[in-house]
């Protein structure tokens, strides 16, 4: 068997941290670090090199979105699974744009959580129907917004797949319905996120350059 997946848990609620840690450890995963806030998370990340970070968005500063952005900047191969209670939509969308590749609500079962960590570690994306709806909305807003022509756009197939995720179908159900392989469905979902994240990075870079030029 492969090396166990190295996980860091970031959550300001001790009982949650403990519960998640116990569950993941019982499932054979290796919890290399826990953190109660953003600064602890960023301090422990380089020292412990987790493959997956199970991250609560509502943590003392820097918040989950900022932690996501910084971790991905330091190590693009790190995977972030958002485990959020509040489901504050804009935060979830921001975290995903910053580079998180998975999102679960905290009411998800132990099995769902463990499965999600495994999938995120493999490089898969883990979506809830709610997140798929938000991402679809974000693409439509960018299309409506006018302006730059380098805005990312979904292919017809990607839109189709994302809509089915938003309607609550599992990847397997989508694969059956569209007569595709499970892997292809997975790739389509991943692409929708990757384009969004890439666009976000480009926008941030452009913003930084504009700010820099303005100063001169």
């Amino acid at each position: 068997m492969d090396e166990p997946i190295r996980v860091m848990i970031v959550d300001d609620h001790p009982m949650w941290r403990d519960a998640v840690e116990r569950d993941l450890a019982a499932a054979g995963l290796k919890v290399v670090a826990v953190a109660a806030n953003g600064s602890e998370a960023l301090a422990r990340f380089p020292a412990t090199r987790p493959q997956v970070i199970v991250l609560d968005l509502q943590i003392p500063a820097p918040n989950g979105v900022e932690v996501t952005a910084e971790v991905v900047r330091q190590d693009p191969s790190a995977r972030i699974l958002i485990l959020s209670a509040s489901g504050e939509q804009q935060d979830v969308l921001d975290a995903v744009k910053a580079g998180a590749t998975g999102y679960l609500v905290k009411s998800a079962s132990k099995e769902e959580l463990i499965d999600a960590v495994h999938r995120v570690a493999r490089g898969d994306t883990v979506f809830t129907p709610g997140l798929a709806g938000l991402v679809l909305g974000e693409y439509r807003r960018m299309l409506d917004g006018g302006g730059n022509d380098d805005r990312p756009r979904l292919t017809e197939r990607e839109t189709e797949v994302l809509r089915l995720v938003a309607k609550g179908l599992s990847y397997k159900q989508i694969a059956d319905r569209l007569v595709l392989s499970h892997r292809t469905v997975q790739n389509h979902v991943q692409n929708t996120l990757r384009k969004l994240q890439l666009h976000n990075r480009v926008e941030l870079t452009r913003y930084a350059i504009e700010q820099g030029l303005d100063e001169e």
Binding site: H13, M15, W16, A19, Q58, A85, S86, G87, E88, Q89, Q90, L93, V105, K106, S107, S109, K110, T128, P129, G130, L131, A132, G133, L134, L136, G137, E138, R140, R141, L143, D144, G146, R151, R153, R163, A166, K167, G168, L169
Partner: protein, 374 residues
């Protein structure tokens, strides 16, 4: 607010004293007793300087100061016949009396203005040997203007107090919302944890977990609705996103709602009809698939239209059942859903196959421009 009014009064005092001194120098020849006259003008100047200092601090604005201010003004006024003789025309302080009047009007508002004006007017009339048309006109204006200034000062101060109270309330509300978010988050965490642990314990624990799960869903949906509430401005339009999010709290069936995340404003009747149609679809799921059956609602903003999809994973409707139902005259639920949507200028489509569940697609024109992209 009083501070600002008294600061403005300082400038008025300066103008009034300069005016009074100038006029008295100009009419110096009118003085029957030049030393007394000069002495009174000097007292007025000194008092103006003192009053400017005294009124500057709220703590010094005691009734004694205001009374002294008015008494000195009245004394200067009453001295006029002594200085200028019985048949004088212009009083020594002249318009300078306005300074004390307005101080009373600012401090004691309508009543203060009225009382001070009455005293000044009474003195002015008493010291004259005869009341001319001009004297009467001055007194009349004084009696009208001073209470009005007092009333306005009162209104200004009340408005300032109200605005301060409103700002305070808004700040409190914001802080309350911030605290509520923190508390909500904590409650959500606990509910989610109970739900998770309950399922592992089984038995009664599972029941508790299920209850906690329902409440978690309800609270989550409530928070989203509150977020949407902030943008509620035009009463004729309502936010379809907020209305559909409410369905997430609904049991049965177990509903998951996915939306674009930003408000979609539609005429109120469109929102409510569409929401009712979605509820009818969900009622159908509860009846035909089961009370614990999962259902999904997806809302999409297509630019020129909105599409709501309601999906379940039940046994579906066998081919021909709908047709036979409608040909037998039993129009039932699906006809009512289609009717609702047609009334809104939209359409409702039903997709189903045995063991594939039922999927309703409800689309309504939103009257908004289409996506501008090519």
């Amino acid at each position: 607010m009083q501070d600002r009014l008294f600061r403005a009064l300082v400038w008025l005092r300066v103008v009034l004293i300069v005016n009074a001194v100038t006029l008295n120098i100009y009419r110096y020849d009118n003085f029957h007793h030049p030393y007394l006259g000069t002495g009174i003008v000097a007292v007025m100047v000194v008092w103006t300087v003192f009053a400017t200092w005294a009124y500057a601090a709220p703590s010094r604005r005691v009734p004694a100061l205001l009374c002294a201010d008015l008494l000195i003004t009245l004394a200067a006024l009453i001295s006029s016949p002594l200085v200028k003789g019985e048949t004088f025309n212009a009083s020594v302080p002249g318009f300078w009396v306005a300074a004390a009047l307005i101080a009373w009007a600012i401090h004691w508002q309508f009543v203060g203005g009225l009382v001070a004006a009455a005293l000044v007017s009474a003195c002015d009339l008493l010291i004259r040997d005869g009341v001319s048309q001009t004297n009467y006109g001055n007194v009349f204006l004084l009696m009208i203007a001073a209470p009005i200034v007092g009333y306005l000062c009162g209104s200004l101060q009340r408005m300032a107090a109200e605005r301060a109270a409103a700002e305070h309330a808004a700040a409190v509300e914001q802080e309350r919302a911030r605290l509520a978010r923190a508390v909500h988050d904590g409650v959500l965490q606990v509910l989610a944890l109970v739900q998770r642990k309950g399922a592992e314990i089984g038995g009664e624990g599972a029941e508790l977990g299920r209850l906690a799960g329902d409440q978690e869903q309800a609270l989550r949906s409530l928070i989203r609705q509150q977020d949407a509430l902030v943008e509620e401005t035009v009463a004729a339009e309502t936010d379809l996103v907020a209305e559909l999010e409410k369905l997430g709290t609904r049991r049965p069936p177990r509903v998951q709602v996915a939306t674009p995340g930003e408000a979609i404003r539609l005429p109120a009747h469109v929102t409510s009809e569409l929401t009712d149609a979605v509820k009818a679809c969900l009622d159908n799921v509860a009846r035909h698939v089961g009370e614990e059956a999962p259902a999904w609602v997806l809302l999409e903003d297509m630019g020129g239209s909105v599409i709501v999809t309601v999906r379940d994973e039940g046994p579906g409707i066998p081919e021909g059942r709908l047709d036979s139902a409608s040909s037998e005259g039993r129009l039932g639920v699906s006809a009512s859903i289609k009717g609702r949507l047609e009334d809104l200028g939209g359409r409702a489509d039903l997709f189903t196959a045995p063991d594939q569940g039922v999927e309703w697609e409800l689309s309504v024109p939103s009257g908004r421009p289409l996506a501008s992209g090519p």
